[in-house]
């Protein structure tokens, strides 16, 4: 075989002296690697624990509101303080998808999807996918039957969705430490604004400030991302392409027509593939081999 008799390929790099020193460093490196591995393992462990906690709280919250035969649970409009506190503190770490799971879990148990509502969900006694709501009135709507059966009433749906829009898509472990993220319950339209929540104006103001700061942070992050995208910082390829085109101005302009002529003559398929891919971004690259021929 020809391949076997060939000498091994020779490297083109400069020969560097091989240091024989790393042996004393080795135990240190091993310890370092171990520590790094442990660090990453503990991060994964924490995340698992967080997701376990979330599924635990789904089970807990699906049983709310708490109440016994002697003291029936209060209505969804005016839940007990204890239940409301458990709900807001546990739902804080939920992602919208977890919240959907919670609603489904409650529906499976036959309850209204809103956590603080003690009523059972509606069962629509009709076949068919959709149902007409408020027929003949201004707020008439055609609602999927499935969507209707998730709640006990329209107001509960509103209350539950008010919670959902406050939830964030960010992973739970990234939010766990941020105290600023607090979930608020739906302000009932009947109750006056000077309820127990707004009794202390200072508290109100701090809450608003916190919300503002959070909003500003989010805005800054998204702005930075957009700017990076505009500058082309996302990938090295894009950066190189723009840089080279600016440097070689003329070649850039000439590129496409030449490349097109080449493809007419019948190039190997692979290079044509690259050509078509690259043409839009860095056409000048294709001009180089042509000059030599």
């Amino acid at each position: 075989m020809a391949t076997q008799t060939k000498p091994p390929p020779k490297g083109i790099l400069k020969k560097t002296k091989i240091t024989t020193e790393p042996t004393p460093e080795e135990p240190d490196a091993a310890v370092k690697a171990r520590n790094l591995a442990i660090h990453h393992a503990s991060i994964i462990h924490d995340r698992r624990q967080m997701s376990d906690a979330i599924s635990d709280s789904i089970i807990d919250l699906s049983k709310l509101p708490s109440g016994s035969a002697s003291s029936p649970p209060p209505s969804a409009a005016a839940p007990s303080d204890e239940d409301a506190a458990t709900f807001t503190s546990q739902v804080r770490l939920f992602q919208p998808s977890d919240y959907e799971d919670l609603i489904e879990e409650r529906n499976c148990l036959g309850k209204c999807g809103y956590v603080l509502c003690p009523k059972p969900r509606i069962k629509v006694n009709q076949t068919g996918e959709f149902k007409l709501v408020n027929f003949g009135r201004k707020d008439f709507a055609i609602v999927p039957k499935k969507e209707m059966e998730r709640w006990c009433s329209q107001t509960c749906a509103r209350r539950a969705m008010y919670i959902k829009v406050q939830l964030n898509e960010t992973a739970a472990w990234e939010r766990a430490g941020i105290e600023g993220i607090q979930i608020e319950l739906y302000q009932e339209p009947g109750s006056s604004k000077t309820g127990k929540k707004s009794s202390d104006p200072a508290e109100d103001i701090t809450r608003d400030l916190r919300a503002l700061k959070l909003e500003a942070d989010r805005k800054a992050a998204s702005d930075a991302r957009e700017l990076a995208l505009e500058r082309g910082d996302t990938g090295d390829k894009r950066k190189n392409a723009t840089g080279r085109c600016q440097r070689e101005g003329e070649g850039c302009l000439r590129g496409p027509s030449r490349a097109f002529a080449r493809s007419e003559r019948g190039w190997p398929s692979t290079s044509r593939g690259i050509q078509t891919k690259v043409r839009s971004k860095r056409p000048c690259v294709m001009t180089w081999p042509a000059r030599k021929n």
Binding site: D52, I59, S62, E100, L102, E104, E105, C108, L109
Partner: protein, 235 residues
């Protein structure tokens, strides 16, 4: 009043027949997977089922619908773990299976967790839960948490009313053992990924309790060749 009673009785009768059919299919499934069951257990007639599992009110008593089955020697041998230098005679992948019909009116995460815990505590290698109500999304997520102790599967009673493998258009599926799979890949000089695929949630794959990475041999009838075998990798 009498009409009401009649309607009630009729509904009960329908549930009993449905449950009996699911009960029979589950037994056939266990037998097809290679667990040891007697012919008598598999072909339980409706009358006997009614005697045994009907409560006084005429409804089916689901809390009694549970059984375990041991794998046959053939099955143990087929799913033998590969021998390593450290462990020259490893055990088998399969073990005793626990099959239970859901006794409650809901199947949420809590029920699933209870079932998984029970199977793990009793050292069952596999657990099958047959439910007559829909399964919630968070209940399905619970299954993965028990993966290192036991394999939990769930079926809807509706899906077990007939045995799909007895249908005329469903060809015979045979799961290959580790050695057979290695021989197949060697014979055709394939990598695993080059095989055609079958989904884990495919009804027949679910029926056979396939796991990711197993290969199933599908034997079809062919007009020209008599029999035609194809192989699929479970993903």
């Amino acid at each position: 009043m009498a009409d009401q009673e009649d309607a009630n009785r009729e509904a009960n009768e329908r549930t009993i027949v449905r449950t009996w059919r699911a009960w029979r299919t589950v037994h056939e499934m266990a037998a097809d997977r290679g667990y040891e069951l007697t012919q008598e257990e598999i072909n339980l007639p409706l009358e006997r089922f009614r005697d045994r599992y009907m409560s006084a009110e005429g409804t089916v008593n689901r809390s009694l619908l549970k059984f375990s089955a041991r794998p046959s020697d053939d099955m143990m041998r087929k799913f033998q773990k590969p021998a390593t230098p450290n462990d020259p005679s490893p055990g088998s992948d399969c073990g005793t299976i626990w099959i239970e019909f859901l006794d409650e009116s809901t199947l949420g995460a809590e029920q699933m967790r209870k079932f998984g815990k029970f199977c793990a505590d009793q050292n069952y290698a596999a657990g099958v839960l047959v439910s007559n109500v829909a399964v919630s999304a968070s209940a399905k997520k619970e299954i993965a948490k028990f993966a290192q102790w036991t394999t939990i599967e769930w079926f809807l009673e509706d899906d077990l009313l007939i045995n799909i493998t007895h249908h005329d258009l469903v060809p015979r599926h045979v799961i290959l053992s580790r050695e057979e799979k290695a021989a197949l890949l060697k014979r055709y000089r394939l990598k695993e990924t080059q095989l055609p695929r079958i989904l884990v949630r495919d009804p027949v794959a679910k029926y056979l309790g396939m796991k990711r990475g197993q290969v199933v041999k599908i034997i079809r009838k062919s007009e020209t060749a008599g029999r035609y075998a194809s192989y699929r990798l479970c993903v």
